[in-house]
Each structure stands twice: as structure tokens, then as C-alpha cells.
Symmetry: C2
Subunit: 438 residues, 2 copies
Amino acid sequence: MKRTMIEMMADNNQFAGKAFLRYSGCFFKPRKTAVNNMQETSSQDVTMITCTAPVNIAVIKYWGKRHEELILPINSSLSVTLHQDQLKTTTTVACSRHFQEDRIWLNGKEEDINQPRIQSCLREIRRLARKRRSDEDLSNDISLAHRVHICSVNNFPTAAGLASSAAGYACLVYSLSRLFGVDGELSLVARQGSGSACRSMYGGFVQWKMGERQDGKDSLAEQVEPESHWPELRVLVLVVSAERKLVGSTSGMQTSVKTSKLLKHRADCVVPGRMEEMISAIQRRDFAAFGELTMKDSNQFHATCLDTYPPIFYLNDISQKVISLVHRYNQHYQDTRVTYTFDAGPNAVIYTLEDHVPEFIQVVRYFFPPETNGGEFVKGLPVGPASLSEDLKTAIGLEPVPKGISYIISTKVGPGPCVVEDPKLHLLNPEGLPKKST
Amino acid sequence: MKRTMIEMMADNNQFAGKAFLRYSGCFFKPRKTAVNNMQETSSQDVTMITCTAPVNIAVIKYWGKRHEELILPINSSLSVTLHQDQLKTTTTVACSRHFQEDRIWLNGKEEDINQPRIQSCLREIRRLARKRRSDEDLSNDISLAHRVHICSVNNFPTAAGLASSAAGYACLVYSLSRLFGVDGELSLVARQGSGSACRSMYGGFVQWKMGERQDGKDSLAEQVEPESHWPELRVLVLVVSAERKLVGSTSGMQTSVKTSKLLKHRADCVVPGRMEEMISAIQRRDFAAFGELTMKDSNQFHATCLDTYPPIFYLNDISQKVISLVHRYNQHYQDTRVTYTFDAGPNAVIYTLEDHVPEFIQVVRYFFPPETNGGEFVKGLPVGPASLSEDLKTAIGLEPVPKGISYIISTKVGPGPCVVEDPKLHLLNPEGLPKKST
């Protein structure tokens, strides 16, 4: 019987050490878990592993590449990793000498494995695996020649408008790395799947350093602080019902780089200082500084979208109302208690501290009255009750917009990619094909 | 009997010459007109003159002052003067030794004459008049000591959201200059009422050169081309029904100067090149170049508003739809046939050429179906019929928004301020008080 990859990795000194733990916010007991974790059927010789990876939301935004294929950005960026209890991608990867070809299923549908970005990730992981094995003379391993089957699902609806590509590519790269026993700078690989995916390779607060090298070897993610650093920080995703077709971020940022006279100035002259300020604000747990900079950077990103030709609009009237609401709320308390950021869509991501969540949720509920016959308005982390003062309502003074916000996902800062220990949770069956339910 | 100001001005060599004509897009027969034009009642000794002035719409935007009181801008700007047949301010100014104090009525309501900007204009005009008289030893004139009554009305509703201050201050300054017999660089005076008012002192295509001097003496308007230069050019004001209270431009631009990291870059590094390009496009009557630059500059202005902290939004969902519509229309024809620009509000100002007006109006009517029981949808210059091809509708492919646009004002490029010859059109009665109807 062939040894599983996890067993091999467990034997490797590096496995239990820093190199592995850097990539995992979750711990698991190497040997025992490894046995459980790999689904190996002698009839099929299928080796299988399942991992999860988080969504991240940038507070210093990435917009614009200096190299399209390598996905090298024109500026550094910084994000907060969201907790996987609420938002995650789950991916099962399997390999077997019986598989005829590489195949991939995303959210229940088979997709073209030859998409260049998926190919980049597969190629890079196989290259790293080959390199490591030749370095360490693990020539008895054969699985590199085997084809892989990949199956991936998100636990959040596409309608939530959350950039799923970051979690998706992070999960793909992490899962493949576990399968092939690869360590090293995996964020470099994930970056070539989707730029912001490199930041989903870590938990907590993560910067993507733009780097300087032409080959991109120094354009990688680094954890600024772990998820335990700021336990009071809370995240609310306000899902706005959008009718509009949005410009995709890949083509959007290409057009911005080509046409916006303001984007280059932002990248060269504004972002470097903001990265330093943001890192310092996070390290000091200074919410006012963190919040103000987050709002300013979100607005500047959308400003460069508007300066693009033809202009790109991601914020709609509801997004603008949320922005007004946040500023008026903070104004009322003479304190930055709540901050917003918007990615390439109309949904607001709100950061605030635990203590302010119940009241702010009530504010949102009051100014965007939800459908009464719908499902729960707030999903995710439970939110306590709160009352709303007439003073506060008057201070905000906006016209309520019924159903302007579909629902809220309540979450917090979370860890990086994890290995799933329970083999029942594999998305592929012993033959390496998607289970019926996925 | 005291001689009227106009008679005195008519006697002056400069009156019929360049110095006067520079400020008037309209001609009038000096002597005869002068007699008709001044309403003089022996019982009251009231000297009176009525003038009109146009609205202008910038294609290279002014946003941000380097000096608040003198109203010196951080960048040059360029505008098109709209025709007064559709949009104008009318102002009557009167002076009499019997008036006890300076007074002003705006759109039928008496306002505080002590507003600093009105005072700036009055002071500057009186200073110029005093200077000229001492230079020319016209010491027999006494009217400088007299108090003035001012009455001003717009022929367009405030709801049209057109910046009325430019036309208003241009008209005030022009009327006072005629009353007091002042010539010289009147745009310097109008600028101190409202920055963009300096551009309403000329017809056609007008640039406001930002100047360099600390005293602002070189921050003035200059005609780039007269209104006869590009006779095919047409202007459509798309009045969007807006529910929102908007941030006023004075406080808005103050906040932008203080907080936007992009605004300074725009002013210093982007606008100078655009001014040259725009002047050249106008001189060549190159609509594609004019149109593209107009759209880019409008978008960049709104981008700097969004980069302001807290952010300022003037474009709403309807504005964004108009922008999409224009780009898709042009895309369909592979030609920049129509261009948009937006000031500090949601209304679109469309520039296009005469030939494209009927079809474009039909496009607007199709995608923003007007109220059927309302008044006329298109006001102003008559627009011929046109049909709409299915191809074009499909190419634009937006969801129609009923009543998204309230009405359209159809107009063209027009002349600068004019003297009104018909004394029946004075807004003040022989006693110097507003007529009942105004």
C-alpha cells in the first residue's frame, strides 16, 4: 500500500514546524489525523484531502496590476481575514493513477480545467513539489504524474457579492500543497490564481507586499497580526440587492490602469504612507485611526474607478446611503465607532467593535426596514438586543429605504486555511467524483 | 435734469468701442437706447438699468480655491455659455439720492444685502467707478454716493439644479457696471461674487485662467471662441428628480481641498494639459476630442468629490444610468456623438451636434419614459421627430426607468451679458421697488 501524502508530510521534520503552521490557522494532530484525512481506496488508489480557506476584505485596496500574467500589483494592500464559521470555501483534491485527466467542479458544476489561472496554480504547485522531491531525493513518490480531481464549494451565496475568487484560489492552492506535500511561499502561488487570494493564505491581518522584482518572487503576503490580536473587532456584511451587471475586477482594473490619471498617483504617492499608518493602527488596536483610514481608502479606490474611462460604478444609491448613515452615526457620537469598506460591488462591509454591534444593527434595521416575511435578517454570529434613541434617529435623519438591504452576515476576524479532518466531509466520493449532495 | 448714466457713457469714447463690446454679446444703439433704457422719474430721480446674463457649464471643472475671500482657484477651467433664450438671469439695478440704503430682491424675496459676496461686488464696482472718474475728472457725477436697489430673477426653476450663482453674479456685476459707467476687467469683479460667474461674463467658449498673483489680478476670464464659432453645437439639460439634499459647492470644495489626496494632483498635474487639449479641440471643432475630454473631466471632478472625507456624492443612480446610456450610444456608433457633464448635482448636461439631437432625445424618452400627463418633456429649442431602431435599443440594453428624468431643456451656445432695451421689462417700478409681478 502506497503511503499517503499526509503520512509522508508527517514524517518530514518541517511538517509539524513553522513552515506548515504558518499556512494553517487550524491545528490538527498530524499522524492520527493524516490517516483519517486521506481517503484511500485500494481499488481506486485515490488519495484525497479536503481543506477550507477564508474570505478576506481589504482595508487598503488592491486595484491595478503591473504584470497581468504574474499578477503583480501596482501597490501593496492590506486585509482582514474573515472567520470561516460564516464564510469559507471548501475544496477537496484527489489524485489517482487511474484518473485520465485533471478535472474541476465548482459549486456543483464542472468547469474548464484549462483556465489559465487554474493552470498557473497547478503548474506552480507541481513545480514546487518536483523541486522539493529532487532536493530531498524522494524519488519513490509517483503521485506527481497523477492527474487531479478538484471539487470546490462556497458556503455563501454568489448573491452575497463577496469576491469568492480569493477564498477559492487560496483553498485550491492550500489543498494542492497538502496533497503534494509542498511548503514554501504558497502565497506566491495563490497570487497567480487571483491577486487577493494571496492574502487569504493567512488569518488575522494580512499585508500583500507589492514587491519590486520582475519575476514577482517578492510579491507575497505576510501576516501583520494574528486573528487573536484584536478580539473585539467585528465584521458585518450588509448585502445590498443589486440589479446591475457589474464590471468584473480583472477587466475593470485593466481599464483603470490604462485610463485613470489618478490611479498611478494613488499607487505611487498615497498608498505607501497609508500602509504604514494602517499597520500601526492595527498594532495599536486604534479603532478610530483604523476606521478613518479604511473609509478613506475605500472611497479613494471608488474614486479611481470613477476616474476610469468609461467610468466604473460599484456604489449605488443604497451604498451611498450606508456611507451617509455611518458618517452621521459617528458624527452623533463624535467618535469613529463604525467604518465601511466596499469592494467591486454595492455591498458594504462594516468593521466595528463588539460593544457597538447591537445598536448599529438596530440602526441598519431602522433605516433599511427588512422584509417582514423573509428569513432572518442577521445571519452568523448572534447579536444581542439594543434599543434606539430618538436622538440617534434624528441625528441620522435619513429617509428609511424598505428592503434596501437584503440581509446582514455577522462575523469576526478568523484564521487562515485549515485541513478538514473528518473524511465524511470530502466533496468527492471514493471514485474521485463529486458526491451527489455537492 | 441730471444726465443719465447711459448718456454719460454714450458720450464717452470708450463706450461704443472695444471695452464695452467685450462685455456684451448683444448690441444696442447707444444714444436712443440709452434714453429708453433708463427709467428716470423726476420726482424720484431714479436711474435704472436692466441686464441679462447667461448660465455657463464647465467642460474642464473648477473645484477648489487657493484663496477663499478673493475666490482664486487651484486650477484653470473652461466652460460653454448657454443661450439666454432658454436660461438667463435678469437683473434691474437702480440708484437714487432718495434711497436710504442698499437693498436686494432675489426671485421675489428681499435678501440680506450684507452678504459678503454681494458686498464684494458692490465695493469693487464702486471702487472702479471712483477710480475711472478721478482719472477722467468726471467730478460732477454724484450717483456714486447714492444707494442702489437690486432686483434679480431667473427664468429657470431652482429645481432645474443649475448653478444660478454664476448667472446671478455675472448679471449683478454687469448691471452695476452699466449703471456706474465702469469698464475694465469686470470678470475680476464677478469672480469675487462666485468663482464661475467670471466665465458668464462672455459668450461662446470661455476659459478662466487661474492666474498666479496673490492679489488675484490675473485670475480672470477670457473668451476662447465666440458663440458663432461652432453653430452646430447643441446642449440638452436632463433634469433629474433628486430627493437628496446636496452639499453646497462652497463648503464641498473647501472639504475637498482639505482632505482629498487626489485633488491637488488633478489641479497641478492633470488640468493644465487638459486646458490646452480642450482649447485645441474647440478651435478645431473636433467633437470627438471635445466630448471625450468633457466626460473624463466630469468624471474626475466627481472622483475627487468621492475622495473627499467625508465623501461627497452628486451623481445618483439616474445620473449613472445616463452615463451608461451615453457610452453605449457612442459605442453603438463607434463614434463620440454625445457627451455628458455633471456639476454639483445629479442633472446631466449633454453636448451634441444638431444632427444627433432628435435621435438622442428619442433614446432618452425611451429609456426614461416621461409622465404622460405632465407638461412638455422637451422645453426650449424645438426638436424634430426621429425614429429609434431596434438595433440601437438592443445595443443600449438598459432597463427603462419611468420618470427618471423630469424634463429636458434644449438649448445651444449663446452670447454674454446683454442690456435689456425695453423699459417695460425693468423689474423695479419708478419708485425703485419690485413690480408686483416679479
